[in-house]
Symmetry: C2
Subunit: 137 residues, 2 copies
């Protein structure tokens, strides 16, 4: 996504458009690999050596709260980030750790009267095709 476009969608939501936030969002938007904070930090640092890790954490948190990114907590360890905010499922391979997107209808929970639901996530885990092939040989 172009920088001007990012600034534009940030301003629509009254989200302060700092260079750090723009760089973080641009990276996650352009790399659909569900990177975690460290990967984002290290990648963003290459073009912007002055950015601090704290700021990347702050930016990611704010971007999630404002709905620009989705936090993926599938591995119980690091948090991964996804710029695809359309509803979809996430699959994690327990062999290689890779996270894949997949299509799945939004699940409809029962007995949640009085609950306000702001986000739904569907996580699968298992073995991905690549690792399945490697394990066969």
């Amino acid at each position: 996504m172009r920088t001007e476009q990012i600034i534009s969608i940030f301003k629509e939501k009254h989200f302060r458009a700092t260079p750090q936030r723009i760089a973080v969002y641009k990276y996650v938007y352009g790399h659909r690999t569900h990177p975690d904070a460290s990967q984002i930090y290290e990648s963003v640092l290459k073009s912007n050596p002055s950015f601090s890790k704290t700021t990347v954490y702050n930016a990611l948190k704010s971007l999630c709260e404002s709905g620009f990114l989705i936090p993926v907590t599938i591995d119980g360890d690091k948090i991964h980030y996804d710029a695809n905010i359309n509803f979809h499922g996430h699959f994690i391979c327990s062999e290689c750790g890779e996270i894949y997107d997949f299509d799945v209808p939004e699940p409809v929970g029962k007995g949640l009267n009085g609950f306000t639901v702001t986000r739904k996530d569907v996580y699968y885990s298992g073995i991905c095709p690549d690792c399945n092939n490697k394990l066969k040989n």
Copy 2:
């Protein structure tokens, strides 16, 4: 669950029945609050002051691998544990952090040819009824 019963289901799966593993499982089975490792460690320690934290981590990991417990990674930070291994959804309140169970049909993902799926999780987040009431007043 009675200790003898726990030993029995452990042995069925050739899962070594150490006092530590029994105590950890009994605690999680009896407290359906989705505790995390620290809460489990501190609670188990009251009756068994000699147990170490490492062992609690080892036990939880083994219990998950053998299918006695389910790891709940809904908060991206700590891992919570659930002894209810029947399929169900988890709701986390972003205000109080409480995790609730709810009924939901197993989601059916598409386009996962070649993937081996070993676990499915449905996570919701939002505001629980208690916190909704508190926020109204």
